[in-house]
Symmetry: none
Subunit: 413 residues, 2 copies
């Protein structure tokens, strides 16, 4: 498989600006059957750019460079690339004429600075820019190619689609297409999933199938990718690998590809024509927030109550004072009363309640920080409560609790 490297040029990328280009490049290039071998970000310095281009060009078949094509003194990609390849940059008056026209169209006079954008690495093919003044450039060296692309996504992405992709497909995809799927798991730690899947890895790799495990606390994503001569063949490889993986971790899988815990919960509720309400204490509305991220969630999510102090819990969810007096707000009994109270009050088919100690303060020997009680109240079923001791700081406890609540709900629907 041809190796692509991405070089992002711009001092702002080293001073804290978040670089979002990879979220475009990665899936886009995967679709062409190409894989990214490395991403590098350097500042606006000819020496840095030259060194980065030299080494990347030695490793990669295709080098995509974004940024540093602007008109100002610190736009130095052209010079850096030329030095790296031992070429000159030459002024192309016809390009400057084009830029002039563009400016006039918007009734603006073109500053002399923009002449820099008419400097082209010798032998380069110029890639017109429909959405900005900086043209792209393509330099071919034997079987390798370097592309100079504008920094702004609004200019770079169309140039990739219209002018770079066709060239890459013709020259580097050598007739192979990629296929991909993601198995989404919950309720299993990353290391445990990995342990279970281990027997698969070797044989899969022999068959040209690639596994990648990505995870966040409480969730594990298994990415399965394959390349083949035809889309059909690639799809078959992926399907086979996915089936084998399901045999090992199937019971933890809640969805695939674009699914999220929230969206799958939503689908299940819709198919049952059920409504949901939430009663959250220590998660402070995080579960409601997650549920309402899903477009159309108003069709099944009635809403919820975020209750902080006991008094509010009592009133809003009609929890009997004795429950809290006797067992405390963080208890099986209170969680149960919260869930039942919320279900009655919102007239929902099911409710989940969450009450716990997110920390940092409020923990005791008997009820430490991270202790969270959940209860599920459901039409036609006995209300169940369960507790978990969740690791991490306040933020982590809240996140894990929100995922645990959605997992509990999902398993019961």
């Amino acid at each position: 498989m041809a190796r692509v490297e991405i070089l992002c040029v711009g001092s702002e990328l080293l001073s804290g600006k978040v670089n979002t280009h990879m979220s475009f490049f990665a899936p886009f290039l995967r679709g062409l059957g190409l894989s990214i071998g490395r991403e590098t970000s350097v500042g606006d310095s000819v020496a840095e750019i030259r060194e980065a281009v030299e080494s990347a060009f030695a490793r990669a078949d295709v080098l995509l460079i974004t940024g540093g094509l602007g008109p100002t003194f610190d736009d130095l990609t052209r010079e850096g690339v030329a030095e790296a390849l031992g070429l000159r940059v030459t002024y192309r008056p016809e390009i400057f004429e084009g830029i002039k026209k563009r400016f006039l169209k918007y009734g603006r006079r073109v500053p002399d600075e923009n002449k820099r954008q008419a400097m082209v690495v010798e032998g380069a093919t110029v890639l017109p820019n429909r959405f900005g003044s900086a043209p792209g450039q393509r330099i071919v060296r034997g079987k390798k190619a370097v592309f100079l692309l504008p920094g702004p996504g609004s200019e770079m992405i169309p140039m990739m689609r219209d002018q770079v992709a066709p060239y890459l497909r013709k020259s580097y995809s050598n007739g192979r297409t990629a296929s991909k799927t993601i198995l989404r798991l919950c309720g299993i730690p990353e290391s445990a999933a990995d342990e279970k899947l281990d027997p698969l890895y070797k044989t899969a790799q022999r068959r040209g199938v690639e596994f990648t495990i990505l995870s966040e606390p409480g969730l594990v994503d298994l990415h399965i990718t394959a390349l083949a001569k035809s889309k059909r063949e690639a799809d078959k490889k992926v399907a086979a690998a996915a089936a084998a993986a399901r045999k090992l971790v199937g019971r933890w899988q809640f969805g695939s590809d674009e699914d999220s815990l929230e969206s799958v919960v939503g689908r299940k509720l819709l198919s049952k024509r059920w409504t949901l309400a939430m009663a959250e204490s220590c998660t402070g509305g995080l579960v409601s927030r997650r549920l309402t991220r899903v477009p159309g969630s108003s069709r099944y999510f009635l809403g919820g109550v975020v209750c902080y102090p006991d008094a509010a819990t009592l009133r809003e969810l009609a929890v009997h004072p004795d429950v809290i007096r006797t067992f405390g707000a963080v208890s099986s009994e209170c969680a149960t009363a919260m869930a039942d109270g919320a279900r009655r009050r919102w007239g929902a088919d099911c409710t989940v309640s969450i009450t716990g100690i997110a920390g940092p303060a409020g923990g005791t020997k008997a009820k430490p920080v991270g202790l969270v009680w959940f209860a599920l109240s459901m039409k036609g079923a006995k209300t169940r409560a369960l507790k978990m001791l969740l690791p991490g700081d306040r933020e982590a406890v809240q996140r894990r609790a929100s995922i645990a609540a959605l997992t509990l709900l999902l398993r019961s629907l």
Copy 2:
């Protein structure tokens, strides 16, 4: 100034996951008087990691490596670094014992995979991880140092603060100390802030003070950093620059340094001994969730209601049916009724209500996606409502609305 390079390890970074580490590293290292020369992202491959470490180590004084310290087969940073430096990795049983304890504490059995996290590059100093199972490592070679850090920010950032920063300050800041402050602004776009501050930049730079603007929708952070022979001198430089900046953007500043909108709102409520309740529709609990992120928020945040369909809004917040029948749920009148209803019902000193169209569906000519009404009901004041038309997709509208609500509240307290 010592050169730092960042190496991010993880195939997910080459498959599209957005890398946000630089927005932490850049300002943090600037505060230590260090500058980042390059950022590199490589996949989970020993060969890739080795090559990247070799070349980065040749260029940099300090190499910070994040990721690839997990327990799974594709966590290979330890091996890659060892190969690059010609060292062995050795198993440290005492580390595995620590990991075991950590798992047991949460009632989980530790998989054998986690033994990989007890592998240490020979001669490395182990950096304990308070928030996860992967310890960090520090390897010193003459005047140069390599740090292996966990990938998750929740584990990496505390390790940088507590264990890496002191070492870097001692070894690389050569007698110069940095001083730093952040002015946190809301209600002003990044470009507008930049324009207003422009007069300051040149003179500041001559005085050795550096400005960096980082922003997310609705929020702008102005980082002000200075280096000097003494802390006192550096502090003076920063204080002077901050004062000058405040003259230009002071009215948009809501806090500084560790402050967040939520925490400043909390402080103001505490100082007034006021309580707050929320009534959220289109933000689905996001504001409550943000407020309850703040430790101790239960001292002033009573809770809130997330109301989705009109029926619930009516019942939960005692909004008169005529209001919605006549004006619709997304209207000044409904927002006002929601805020007043919530305040009565929760007995809070102030409440904010949010009702709008987050999209993608539900928009009309008269009430397009992105239209959001806010109302603020406050003890001893007339309830005020205002509307905004917020750009972006569902997620963006919800985020911007949550920030706008907190901003509105802050300005009025």
